[in-house]
Symmetry: C2
């Protein structure tokens, strides 16, 4: 059963299907709650108040941060409180990350609203035998008088709607205008102008309903990308289309139908219908982009991996099958290259890579990891096939960050293993941040060496039935299963981190920048939000910079999509940013293998 | 069985289903052959030579115009020669009407080709790992280098095609460009750029395949409008939609499917496929326009009869269901008013009403008759519901101009009736020009009075079984039926001509122009081509001007559509013309009934 979490005073509604922590819910809704301790309930910075809805007593770890009065008033730590039904949560400004405070206040109070589509009220004089002016010209004249607009026109779907609405609404209407083009008409006073922003991930679709006038997110929901049934990663999905070209239609229909379903749900929560959606912005990697637009994807799968275009597509929403206002369009920002998509562009835009002249590294860790290096006005980027290990896939007990997942691991001096499990329930698996912690701790405790090989005599290392070496993180009790890491698991993670680190080093090398010069490392994505920056440095995933220079920005691609949805200025900035980004094809960089071999190893100084 | 008539040296192919005279075939193909005698085989000006195909011996009437050598070489009179199978006809310049000679020579030799869509050859450098530029940017760069074009882009359907064609054609392509927009791509050297012009008549669809580079018509075909099954005239067709709104989809699908069929046939005759069609221009009355564009038609059927727009629609062809190049559009010129369509605009454009400062009357006679009066730079127009009598409908023995139709009538001093029958076969009915002749002659012979009432004692007037009066034009022999006109038939024609004449007089009255000041009367449509101008004046259908001031221009709407298809300059002229035309709603003109009552009578001076 779907339920709604409403965040106050921001006003965002998140529609959820599964139980999740308030922190995770906020992240999915595009709200960053502070998390100094990384969700260990030790810093107490993520204080929120549950205003309405069922509430369990606080967990033990929470209690030391709360007075009895607070507890009875509904105050809890967002990182420890699991929600499974309709709930209203108040987030005080103190509990928001600084950038979030700036962003929300900025968008709500100071940013100039600048959407592509506006909604204008209009009273139209009805026609008569002595004034047989056509509907379009009549509306254009009224717009000219009331709003000083010239050259108004309309496409066919909008004209059809206009003709009916004018008469149904007795010539009192609201006109949706994109520039001077009428794209829809509604009876007067029916609704506010909204649009949909979607981050089309390989695994997940993050959908946001946005008020175009204020830029505010009204409602949000994340669902799995149904294309997963055709292959988990980008390559296997492209192969599906290569083998069976008709699958392109199916993949497209699946993802659009999911987006339509979510859009309808989000609209319903605002008492709107999908045909009130006036604009769409969809970002995603280049394969998702091409599959969504039904652009032949084959050339993306074979060398030299060329996209159909590296420019914006702003196309009629109905051509993609998206439900929206009659003349609504879908804005698909420029894919940067075959393996660097518009989601990366949106991330860089949201993180401000087109501004300032600092030395900054932007990393979006996923099955493909995109990396960008800003050095003053220069931006170079690359993509590296890091595999899904950090998403918990292809790891024996890997799982996504959900209740039961080990998310923190610490190995004490005496060899005792402390695991934090999401939801405080018995462990059933391990998620990305837990895997990263485990490797860092196992290396520190010399359970694995600098090449990630298990040390046979190290404490906790056991021999499995098939003679391979394994390391137990948690022994199951009361029927719960053991959670362990195998040599194969560790190898997968080493390869993933090696690929990412090689990409980073090659970009630094091409720009002539030393790791110590990096002023900021911005990490996007869910994994980035939860990883322990110290451990990320310790295993060599990222260069050794002081930890305060590392910043997690959550679903920055989704944030970028929302900016692009509601601001023409951001669209202009994105287009100029896209043109400035230099793409580096890693496979043809001389010495790539050396960079990779070095990246796979742990830093020896650690 | 469809067959093809090829006209040389013009190069137009007409695809026909039924037997017809070479004159009529030429007219349908948009070629005006001279016809001083109005098709009576008496002037001998329509000399043509049948180069290939079956040929009967010349009819008696023809023989006096031909030498034996000519006859054996295939020379015939176009007005008397019936074609029923594949034929190649040579039309010497002498046999073309003057305006046709000018038009064809002009278009072929001096007019600057100015189509909306061009086809450019392009050799593109293939991509590599060190040059992963997207397909669109790659083609844009090549276009920039080879043809100095900037800002090239492409819509989604065209980008999909481009991506495939580039690789299938090994990077040697032809790009179809509308402005800077790529709308299609083909392997290099496949075909010439073509477009389709269609006059969407209530009764007939006249379709032309046009070479966009030269403006030449390559092939033509006329078919019945399949919407006839839903009602013969505009109003009954609109009612169908009012009663059953889903019929709008059916009507649209029917007409588009017919156009697609003809387009495929015309393309096939040029070894092209429908996806080679780069542009469409469709003209028609406002109801046909709205039904084609699926714009809600109800407001056209009820007062105050307001169109959805009075502006150009230049919409993606696939949105109408038309088969064409991926990004091709359909140009629908501006409807002028609820009852004055873009076909009238096209007629006025083809007849040059936007030029010069003469006093000219333009009349397009049909079920609705549109009339325009040019007085210097001023153009006023109106529409009048004249009914289908001049098309032979609602007349007891009425039929369209086909073999067996009486097309000329003469009543001699002694009361003997001479009828010319199309095809020289026994009469089976009477077409519009025959009806007009019959009325004029019957009035002259005092068989009917100035109000069109049969004179009981006049020669040939008989009493029918139901006691009504009838007049036999031809008595059937050898089993052929009689052909007669009843009082009801005559009344229908009187009402039709009354409506038309009232419209003319009201325009003259509003402009303060006397009939004698009219410098030219231009009559469009098939009926206009065949009517006897003297008789048209005699019955008072048109004002009494010297007969040399009356000019028939055939399917001028189709000619206008072809000009609009192949010339941006003509599109600009049409738009400025459309804005200048003042529409007069006849029903609210004071004294309309008086004008009508006077128009119904025969001129007493005749």
């Amino acid at each position: 059963m779907a339920y709604i979490i409403e965040f106050e005073p921001i006003g965002i509604r998140l529609i959820c299907d599964d139980p999740l922590t308030i922190s995770e819910a906020a992240r999915q809704a595009g709200v960053s709650i502070r998390s100094v301790c990384g969700g260990k309930a030790s810093c107490g910075k993520c204080l929120v108040r549950v205003m309405e809805g069922h509430l369990d007593p606080p967990a033990e770890a929470e209690q030391k941060h709360l007075t009895l009065a607070q507890i009875s008033a509904g105050w809890r730590l967002a990182c420890r409180t699991i929600i499974a039904a309709n709930t209203c949560v108040y987030i005080p400004a103190n509990s928001l990350t600084e950038s979030q405070v700036i962003q929300i206040e900025g968008l709500e109070t100071t940013a100039v609203p600048d959407p592509a589509v506006r909604l204008l009220a209009l009273l139209v004089d009805p026609p008569s035998l002595s004034d047989q002016t056509g509907d379009l010209e009549r509306v254009a004249n009224a717009l000219c008088q009331a709003h000083a607009l010239e050259g108004v026109w309309g496409g066919l779907p909008a004209l059809r709607a206009l003709r009916s609405v004018l008469r149904e609404a007795d010539w009192q209407i609201e006109v949706a205008l994109r520039g001077t083009e009428i794209i829809a008409a509604y009876p007067l006073g029916q609704h506010r102008p909204v649009g949909m922003a979607v981050d089309v991930g390989t695994t997940k679709l993050a959908c946001y309903l946005v008020d175009l006038e204020s830029g505010r997110t009204l409602a949000a929901k994340g669902v799995m990308n149904p294309q997963i049934a055709f292959g988990e990663d980008v390559m296997s999905r492209l192969e599906t289309v290569l083998v069976e070209p008709e699958n392109a239609d199916r993949l497209q229909a699946e993802v659009v139908s999911s987006i339509n379903e979510v859009a309808e749900e989000l609209c319903a929560a605002q008492r709107l219908a999908p045909d009130h959606i006036l604009d769409y912005c969809l970002v995603g990697n280049t394969a998702m982009h091409h599959l969504l637009a039904k652009l032949p994807a084959r050339p993306l799968a074979v060398s030299p991996f060329v996209p159909a275009l590296s420019d914006v597509l702003y196309i009629e929403a109905d051509r993609l099958g998206l439900n929206a206002a009659p003349g609504a369009r879908a804005y698909l920002p420029a894919p940067l290259a075959g393996f660097v998509g518009s989601d990366h562009l949106a991330f860089l835009l949201a993180a401000g890579f087109d501004e300032g002249d600092r030395i900054r590294l932007g990393i979006d860790i996923g099955t493909n990891t995109e990396i960008a290096l800003q050095v003053g006005s220069r931006i170079i980027s690359c993509s590296t096939a890091s595999g899904p290990a950090f998403e918990g896939a292809h790891i024996h007990h890997g799982m996504r960050a959900a209740p039961g997942a080990i998310e923190r691991v610490k190995i004490a001096e005496d060899g005792e293993i402390q695991c934090d499990v999401i939801g405080g329930v018995p462990a059933i698996g391990i998620c990305g941040s837990g895997i990263l912690d485990a490797l860092a701790e196992m290396y520190r405790a010399r359970i694995i060496n600098e090449r990630g090989r298990f040390q046979l005599n190290a404490p906790g290392v056991e021999r499995a039935n098939d003679d391979s070496l394994i390391f137990y993180l948690s022994k199951g009790v009361n029927g719960y299963r053991d959670v362990m890491l195998s040599q194969h698991d560790v190898d997968q993670v080493m390869l993933a981190k090696g690929a990412i680190r090689a990409g980073i080093e090659i970009l630094l090398n091409q720009a002539g920048v030393a790791p110590a010069d990096i002023e900021e490392i911005v990490i996007a994505g869910a994994f980035g939000t939860y990883l322990d920056p110290c451990n990320a440095v310790r295993i060599g995933l990222i260069p050794g910079v002081p930890v305060e220079r590392i910043r997690a920005v959550g679903n920055a691609a989704g944030a970028g999509a929302r900016l692009l949805l509601s601001s023409l200025e951001y669209r202009r900035r994105a287009q100029s940013l896209a043109k400035r980004i230099e793409y580096v094809e890693l496979t043809i960089v001389p010495g790539f293998n050396k960079f990779f071999a070095k990246g796979v190893r742990f830093p020896t100084a650690a």
